[in-house]
């Protein structure tokens, strides 16, 4: 395994696309996607479209989001649940 960015094909880009949009890729894997997009107009178009879609989803559902304080408490309870308490 190397940590130098490698050339990747369109299929690989489409497979990684949401991870790229969500900021879930490692720096090297994101750089590989970025380099491909610079030189591949069709993939760049898909990327722009899917990015617009994900941002739209986030914006449209924002009102449904629990208040930050409640959200934190709920998540902490789920993530750091005491083993002795049965999960609901």
């Amino acid at each position: 395994m190397t940590d130098e960015p490698q050339a990747i094909d369109c299929l690989e880009v489409l497979d990684r696309l949401y991870g790229y949009i969500d900021g879930e890729l490692t720096d090297v894997r994101a750089e590989e996607v970025r380099r491909h997009l610079v030189s591949c107009a069709p993939c760049l178009q898909v990327s722009d479209f899917e990015t617009a879609y994900v941002r739209f989803l986030e914006a449209r559902t924002q009102a449904q989001r629990a208040p930050e304080s409640l959200r934190k408490r709920v998540l902490e309870r789920i993530l750091f649940e005491d083993e002795s308490q049965p999960a609901s």
Binding site: V46, E50, V54, L75, L79
Partner: protein, 104 residues
């Protein structure tokens, strides 16, 4: 109404609209209620993953913890959930006349 997420071909909507609306402007016409209604039609585990990601803003690792599945499963569920939802919203936009169905 429920959606079979396994029947959704990847990037179908983009292929349908890329020559008429490559920037996805039609999404802006869709009201919040319709988005929520469409989310409700997703099968449970797909809805749960999408809500934790796109509504609550959790990372893949956090979603994996909460839902007790591997990160790879989160990734594939999120992909299928987003694509299925996108198809629903596209079909709704066509129905409402926000976007023209591409001639087959």
């Amino acid at each position: 109404m429920h959606v079979d997420v396994n029947e959704i071909e990847p990037y179908t909507v983009f292929r349908n609209v890329h020559d008429t609306d490559p920037e996805g402007r039609f999404f802006a016409n869709i009201v919040d209620d319709e988005v929520l209604r469409a989310i409700d039609t997703l099968p449970d585990e797909f809805r749960e993953t999408l809500v934790l990601s796109d509504v609550e803003g959790l990372s893949y690792a956090e979603i994996a913890d909460v839902t007790e599945v591997p990160v790879g499963t989160v990734k594939s569920r999120l992909f299928r959930a987003r694509q299925a939802l996108q198809k629903q919203l596209h079909d709704y936009a066509v129905e409402m006349g926000y976007i023209k169905e591409r001639d087959a």
